[in-house]
């Protein structure tokens, strides 16, 4: 029902595109489905005491958004069991389903609620996961994400990331009304919250490894400066504001240091800044552009962009300094490298004939694979489980966030509120 309402709104917004100043809810499509996805049915949860989106709908959407599951259409469900009733397994087998999720929302302590759900293996006809998730009525979405995390972990063996967040910068308005907003939101684009606004650009948000702070670049003083801001208190500190560029902050895996780009000594070079003391050491020494450093998960290596060879390519260097090694050779433009959480691959912006796309390189084979297909794709960021890459795209005049699976088989747009979307970052 809500789903259909969403679709109608989408149509409505498409039609309204000719009338100005309209804000509306919009739905988002899956741009590319995945082959070999696991068939699973999520039976609508009974939730008489919880208005709004059904918990099961959010669970199904989360699972679908990974590209690893094929969700059975609600209209095709052969039955709708509600716990404690168990599914009639033969009819689910006939319907081609390997797994079935059933659940309901019941009253908990005080004003609280509890989502009870059971995940069944429909082939063997057994329960493989049965959990109770208590939650406040105002927090139903996060309860649903938690359930999706549990199911995802049970079926894939990997950590689910549905309760993580994304950070991005949205710019809107014209002339003197131009405004830049640093925003964090759930990975489905919901629950967005503005961290800070400025009439001057904000760039390159980067999450601290504990997820409690963001480092970013702000031009609010009509000069570039790197700030660190606590998300709980809002307290912020200017950690670098030297002459020239102060850019591309990237937290070390232990959260004590930031790699930054500074041009105080002439050309942009990579430095490592100890956040607590302000102590700094220089990592690269070159007259060319060196920027966009990102740490390997073990904290030993930085990957960065340099045009020391004439065109921008990725290089690696010890975080303590030393001789950089060139990493990329495919094409004339490779930039913004980021290590995968397991350290085995590096995602990047790869420029080619068709535009600027997100690519990933396997570090053992050095094979480069292009994952996205836009003209102006930027700002790759791995999900904390390494299975998806978040990025920004500009296609058809619409700026948006998007995710692509690391095998490139599955893509999904995450449209978020307003304007030019840039600088995507995925929380730990």
């Amino acid at each position: 029902m809500l789903r259909h309402l969403g679709f109608m709104l989408w149509l409505a917004v498409s039609a309204m595109a000719i009338s100005p100043e309209v804000w509306a809810e919009l739905t988002v499509d899956i741009t590319q489905g995945a082959e070999g996805a696991m068939p699973i049915a999520v039976v609508p949860f009974q939730q008489p005491n919880l208005p709004g989106d059904t918990v099961s709908e959010i669970v199904a959407m989360d699972l679908h958004g990974t590209g690893k599951f094929s969700i059975m259409r609600e209209s095709q469900l052969p039955e709708r069991p509600v716990p404690p009733a168990t599914p009639d397994f033969p009819i689910w087998q006939t319907a081609g389903q390997e797994h079935v999720v059933v659940g309901r929302v019941v009253s908990g302590e005080g004003a609280g609620l509890v989502a009870e759900f059971v995940l069944y293996d429909a082939i063997r006809g057994v329960s493989i996961l049965s959990e109770r998730v208590p939650f406040k009525p105002s927090d139903a979405r996060h309860a649903a994400h938690k359930i999706a995390d549990m199911i995802y972990k049970q079926l894939t063996g990997e950590r689910g990331v549905f309760n993580t967040r994304v950070a991005y910068v949205a710019a809107s308005g014209y002339g003197n009304d131009r405004e830049y907003r640093l925003v964090i939101a759930d990975t489905d684009g919901e629950g967005d919250r503005i961290v800070m606004t400025s009439p001057e650009p904000i760039m390159s948000p980067n999450w601290s490894p504990d997820g409690k702070r963001l480092a970013y670049v702000s031009f609010e003083d009509h000069a570039a400066a790197v700030f660190v801001q606590s998300l709980s208190s809002g307290e912020r500190h200017k950690v670098s504001s030297l002459p020239g560029i102060n850019g591309a902050p990237s937290w070390s895996p232990d959260g004590s240091e930031l790699a930054v780009t500074l041009s105080k000594d002439g050309s942009p070079d990579i430095y490592v800044l100890e956040v607590a003391s302000g102590a700094m050491h220089r990592v690269t020494h070159d007259d060319s552009i060196d920027t966009e450093a990102s740490w390997s998960p073990d904290g030993r290596t930085l990957v960065f962009t340099s045009d020391r060879g004439g065109k921008p390519q990725l290089y690696t260097v010890s975080a303590h300094g030393g001789e950089p090694q060139r990493l990329t050779y495919d094409g004339s433009y490779n930039a913004r490298g980021v290590f995968s959480p397991d350290g085995r691959s590096v995602a990047m912006v790869h420029g080619g004939q068709g535009g600027y796309r997100i690519a990933v390189m396997d570090l053992s084979s050095r094979h480069l694979r292009v994952l996205s297909s836009g003209r102006l794709d930027e700002s790759p960021a791995f999900a904390p489980n390494g299975q998806m890459i978040l990025y920004t795209r500009k296609d058809g005049g619409l700026d948006q966030l998007a995710v692509v699976s690391v095998d490139g088989k599955f893509k999904q747009n995450i449209r978020v509120k307003g304007g030019d979307i840039r600088g995507a970052a995925w929380s730990p």
Binding site: V13, P201, R336, G418
Partner: protein
């Protein structure tokens, strides 16, 4: 079944894009300055600009949004000194011959007014990685400042500030727009 997620989205964005693409080829904000003329020949005419309706404010930089729209500028005006924008080729920081007269005029004025200061704001187009574009924008600013230094301007009078692709002069996603965005803006901050 799960093909659609509900998320909030601003239709304003759609509107602005539709508005731009449906706009006529005439740029209402183009003023008569030579830089705008020099660039006008490159304009495809099929893209519009943000900042319609008087954001120009006599800054000599054409219709725009972002820095400088209507801001106070303590610099000289009159003739070529009213020009404030120098445009660049793709992936280049070379000051093209057609803009050399602007650089020279400002350099001579600054050399004669050693108490005045200039901010050289470097910008790039939106292609590629944003932090790399900040570095490219700085290179363009340094290229102009180097030329001015050779013409007698003191380093102490000049500051380069690169915004990369963060403050585009125009909103389009085509070569015509990109040409407008690869630029250095000269800004004389008020005392």
């Amino acid at each position: 079944m799960q093909k659609w997620i509900k998320v909030l989205f601003s239709a304003l964005l759609v509107v602005s894009v539709v508005g731009c693409s449906s706009k006529g080829g005439v740029d209402e904000n183009a003023d008569s300055d030579a830089a705008a003329k020099a660039n006008a020949r490159n304009r495809s005419g099929k893209y519009g600009k943000y900042g319609a309706g008087g954001a120009n404010g006599g800054s000599g930089s054409g219709g725009r949004y972002g820095a400088g729209s209507g801001r106070q500028d303590a610099g000289p005006t009159g003739g070529v000194l009213s020009e404030r924008v120098i445009y660049f080729g793709f992936d280049s920081e070379e000051v093209l011959p057609e803009y050399q007269n602007i650089v020279t005029a400002h350099a001579e004025w600054l050399a004669a007014h050693p108490d005045s200061n200039l901010v050289l704001e470097g910008h790039g187009d939106e292609r590629g990685s944003s932090e790399y574009n900040v570095a490219l924008g700085e290179r363009r600013g340094l290229s102009v400042s180097r030329s001015m230094r050779l013409q007698g301007v003191s380093d102490a009078q000049m500051r380069v500030l690169s915004y990369g692709e963060e403050k585009p002069a125009t909103s389009g996603h085509d070569e015509g727009s990109w040409q407008q965005n690869r630029r250095v803006e000269l800004f004389y901050p008020p005392h």
